[in-house]
Chain length 407, copies 2
Amino acid sequence: MLNVMYNDDNWKFIFPILFNFVMSVIVYFLTVRLIPRIKDMFVKANLYGIDMNKKSGEKVPESLGVVTGCLFLITLFLFIPIPFTNYIFNDINFPHSEFMEFLAALLSICCMLLLGFADDVLDLRWRHKLLLPTIASLPLLMVYYINFNSTLIIVPKPLRSWFGFSVDLWIFYYLYMGMLAVFCTNAINILAGINGLEVGQSLVISISILLFNIIELSGDLWKAHQFSLYFMLPYIATSLGLLKFNWYPAEIFVGDTFCYLSGMTFAVVGIIGHFSKTMLLFFIPQIINFLYSVPQLFQFIPCPRHRLPKYNKKTDKLQISTVVFNKKDIGSLGKFIAWIFRKLNIIKWQEDDHGTVTCNNFTLINFVLIKTGPIKEPTLTLILLLIQVTSLAFLIRYPLASIFYEV
Amino acid sequence: MLNVMYNDDNWKFIFPILFNFVMSVIVYFLTVRLIPRIKDMFVKANLYGIDMNKKSGEKVPESLGVVTGCLFLITLFLFIPIPFTNYIFNDINFPHSEFMEFLAALLSICCMLLLGFADDVLDLRWRHKLLLPTIASLPLLMVYYINFNSTLIIVPKPLRSWFGFSVDLWIFYYLYMGMLAVFCTNAINILAGINGLEVGQSLVISISILLFNIIELSGDLWKAHQFSLYFMLPYIATSLGLLKFNWYPAEIFVGDTFCYLSGMTFAVVGIIGHFSKTMLLFFIPQIINFLYSVPQLFQFIPCPRHRLPKYNKKTDKLQISTVVFNKKDIGSLGKFIAWIFRKLNIIKWQEDDHGTVTCNNFTLINFVLIKTGPIKEPTLTLILLLIQVTSLAFLIRYPLASIFYEV
């Protein structure tokens, strides 16, 4: 019925999106205006970092993501009543479940913004970083349970002879969604460390989601994608404002705050927008970076405290960073992984007669540097963003979908 | 119908309260365990203050309120499903509107926790401190609008010949509720500055609310008061844990974070619990302190940067702090206020032949010190808390209510 009502009157359907778009444009200009005025407060509060890839050694204000995060939240707080004006003024039965989705989404995002900022200020421990996003996503999962509780997934064609047409994942689907929040928040944080990369990749991901939403607006699940649009537009606007100052040479750093905020925003729209599985396809470079990092993250190969690329002052270029260890000191699993990675030609491995090994750190950034050789920082960021663009999920999903699913 | 169902089965009514109580006891012990382990992280992050009322001059970790705030939120996140288990497992029509109240309440509190922490770290400007709580309370007001939208108030008996039995305040009631959030968050922040006072007064207020809720549980609005109980129990537990370390001599400071968190929690339960007018009666000392401060806050009388009482190292006692100015420099309104305050004998005013005035700063703390003379810090805190206890709102409301309303 709702669907018909809206199709009858396209204006009611387009109006909130248009309103959101205008608010997003305004908040972009606010962001661009506010950041230069506010950034000195961060240095004064001891929130700054030294850019390791620059000669100057200046104090760069850190965790400006909290500013865009707040502007993003304020925009959405002010926007909330708009999609519901029709119900409010005409006294039609109020759609409580939709409103609940808004509240739960904002609650989870606000929690992560708080957590991210606390992490930047206090330097939280790893167990907090894994536990707290899970707790922050609880209200969201509960809303999913109340509103949909659909844990059936369609099995891809090639696997149907074993599993049947669909499988009810039951509680495991909730586990998956809870882990999605943890994954998204940390995935962006791991693929980071050069000017503009965190914001750049998040912008590519969010614009991909935006395009995906726009395409799906004509489908049956248009309402879920409209919901996602409401979040993506102001997110993109505030992040664009942030990128302006974080692009090479960075005047500000975005901090863990921004990575947490972004990750949770993506998880939220994925879960409430019913595309939490598709969402993973937008994170292909992050997944590759994570898988490539696993041997170091789990200490099969020694892992130094920082794995950023190395800056060469003379050439003003970045080159791979390495870890040095003795071959005797790594276990058999580490040796086996190293053997496979060398066969696949995805690491740079140098060994002398005494068994001393010099090897690149296992990050996507270093991998690119192996292939390109030393390059300037903005070029490196651009290459990594191009990788993100070319892996664009919906380009893969649509043509490939027919192999796996009926279209 | 709901009411009858619950009365039939008292267990379903008591169970969530009991569960919440047990969680609160656990979170108290967690708080007491966590604070000593985590407090050094705050000093390391440059979040510390020097206690002006002590000889030692040690660095005291600041804004530990963010720790209890997070524990408070986590407790409520984990508690949310409990009052709804009956609906979830028995598939009875889910009470969306009640769940929405939870989400909106948590969203507003979480926003204020973020704002408070940002204020402690970044030292926000006054306009942010007034604007942001208003925005943070928007979702709450919207939920009030959707669920109740009752803006009628019963007129007190003596005024009925003018206004009639009830008045519809319409949008002004929403303005009032929005301002309540701003008032509560700042009221506690203004009556502060000596060990244990911020947490102490908040605990007196919250325990008053708790008793009021328990009394009202037998009334018609029991559901609203049950909701308030869910928030008050873990709030009291975490704040008690905090007081253990903030009591004289304070090992930690609670920060603006705690004042903001507390203020918004009180505003939230007042608004959703339908006792936003009664709520003001719990804030009598804060209101008096605010009114007494007005001449200085609005610069009719000169206002120094800090108005804390003055510490006397020799006697280890606190005495009134003063402001010195020339009588010529204040306007006629300032002179008039000073004249009234002197007639009322509520300020200490010394004037020499040249018109140089030495006057106490207009705070409730200084007022107490005028009456008692110099006293030790913990005694001063205790006196101020006693004032808070004796002004307890529900003691006043119940006997006096019959004069103003039918009982």
